[in-house]
Symmetry: C2
Subunit: 338 residues, 2 copies
DNA sequence: CTTGGCACTCAACGGTGCGGAGTGCCAATC
DNA sequence: GATTGGCACTCCGCACCGTTGAGTGCCAAG
């Protein structure tokens, strides 16, 4: 159905349209891509491509523009991930190395990605799930209030305040601290919860309600889906492209970006850190993102966090995929070392 | 120079323009605001107001639009802060009460403010400066790496990783922990730094380099300007208004919003929690915000944090000021209780 | 000082005509 | 059968134009 030249034509159309942001016609196509044939031939091919739904014309006497389906084919079959230049790689590494803690790593990563791709960058926090408890600190704020601080071996810190049913002395708090730590310190988070559920039975009945309150909070901290945190950068890039990129207004896109749940769903599709996932236009579940594409991948040792970029469907996919892949690798590396 | 009626005319122009988003002419003005005079009289007044630079015409045969100077006069002399309705107050209180920790308070606050004002909301984290050290936790990550966790009485948690010049045993770490805590626990952050600077002199020379490394990080944590953290919400509101609000594109505004330093400067003007500060158009230092206004105030017991909203100069100032003031009060209240 | 009248200005709008880019189709050619 | 040049056709974009109407500034009268 689609011979090699037709595919080549599609590739040329996508590349031209992405770089010029103008519907591309048969004439300019043969000029810029020195395909060895005449415009008329290209026109025939374009007709075929249009029949198959890979390209479309905005109006009768205009050039062609790729459809979502066209971009999909381009990404799947016609393009290769564009590796970064050594200079870029050095810059990335250097920039990320300067981070002082996890928050800083994430924040640098997202800014870096936005700058490299000139799109909106999204980074999800690395997940707790596979990490282990380094230390559980319990601090007495007042007679009836405690603060629980969980520290993991990945450097993550989670805190919670507990309101107690009754007063507690400093000594009792110290005891609680040792009780919990002796059971869960060094254990993976996933296992930790089950290791403390029987704690209430080991103490006198009088102390039980208090312990149960603390336990509830500790469990909450252990299983909390902190990986639901996301960070954004580069939203100004949305206003960069022409009016063609986002019909009418970028408002629905900005709205979608503020709904973190939506973002998480977009990023969530990505499971394997080796592959870069691309979601194009109408493939996105969210109504406000029908003209947007997302390029994402998983990162980190445990591959439970992900990052990516979001932009108009008219996006430099090979470049974005290259940047996303490279950044994900470097971040993973940095996190593994920390 | 400007008699009462002229001021009344200015007020009417501002209010009309803000609500209709269209340059307002003399005729519609007398109709909608039943000033007891004819359009011709109003025209004379408008002429005077224009001569003084309070209003301007986009083009010859159009109505008048307030200038920055006009908005300034309106805000300073012609308007009163619009209090929220009891229903709104209840909703705010209820929403903020649901917060589980400081991060949650901040995140709820910013979303709330964005929704109430339909503008971009900015909330700066409450400052550490006036709070005290609740606890300083030092955790041994490996032979040569420590994690320092500072917990304040305001519920804030700051963490840092320290690379040590030489290895340290668990016992030595425990000793460090007690050394530091005995000196600074319960002390205000502002004083804490000076209380530990002489620590190195109290230990054997061999242990000194290590202690100095730890000390450096602890000091950094103590004085760190965490109040430089800001959170945003409602950026989609920028794309709501007409093209008149932000000439050309909202891009420079989005860019400015990503530069947290800029935001901090904007919010920083606010010192007194009792007053609401307004910065209009050209009064803003940043080039990208020449057509934007910021309404902000300080909040919290120590009045060292601030929050506000940002929108086009064509903004409902009384409403925004009311919302900002009310939200600041409620947040301050909640933080004081916590 | 206020007001009605009036001439003037100018953005916005709809209609018209033209040029050009790009297409689809067809017959001729390789 | 694929390729190609030719050609008629479509239709966007643009410039031009007159009309309309909102709004103004000014002036003379009240």
């Amino acid at each position: 159905m689609l011979d090699d030249r037709k595919l080549e034509v599609l590739r040329a159309i996508v590349e031209d349209y992405v770089s010029t942001n103008e519907p591309v016609g048969s004439k300019v196509l043969v000029e810029r891509h020195h395909l060895g044939v005449s415009p008329a031939t290209i026109r025939n091919d374009m007709g075929a491509l249009e029949d198959e739904g890979y390209i479309t014309q905005p109006h009768t006497s205009a050039g062609r523009v790729p459809t979502d389906k066209g971009y999909r084919l381009f990404v799947d079959k016609l393009s290769t991930v564009k590796p970064l230049t050594p200079a870029e790689r050095r810059a990335i590494e250097e920039f990320l190395r300067g981070a002082v803690d996890l928050d800083d790593v994430v924040s640098r990563t997202v800014r870096l990605l936005a700058q490299l791709t000139r799109q909106v960058a999204v980074v999800q926090y690395p997940s707790l799930s596979r990490s282990s408890v380094r230390h559980l600190e319990i601090v007495r704020l007042s007679d009836t209030r405690l603060m629980v601080v969980l520290i993991t071996d990945t450097g993550r810190v989670e805190q919670r305040v507990v309101e107690l049913p009754g007063p507690l002395t400093e000594d009792e708090v110290a005891e609680l601290r040792t009780d919990f730590n002796s059971r869960i310190a060094g254990r993976p988070l996933a296992d930790a919860a089950s290791l403390v559920t029987d704690l209430p039975e080991t103490v006198p009945a009088a102390a039980r309600p208090t312990l149960i309150a603390v336990l509830a909070t500790v469990l909450e901290t252990l299983v909390e889906r902190v990986d639901e945190r996301v960070v954004l950068a580069g939203t100004a890039n949305l206003a960069r492209g022409s009016a063609l990129d986002f019909p009418g207004t970028i408002r629905p896109v900005l709205e979608a970006l503020e709904e973190h749940v939506v973002l998480l769903r977009l990023l969530g599709d990505t499971a394997d850190p080796q592959t870069v996932h691309v979601s194009i236009g109408g493939e996105n579940p969210h109504a406000g993102l029908q003209t947007a594409s997302v390029v994402s991948t998983a990162y980190g040792a445990n591959a439970l966090a992900s990052l990516g970029v979001l932009g108009p469907t008219r996006m430099d996919y090979p470049g974005a995929m290259g940047a996303v892949r490279a950044v994900a690798r470097y971040v993973g590396q940095i996190l593994a070392e920390a």
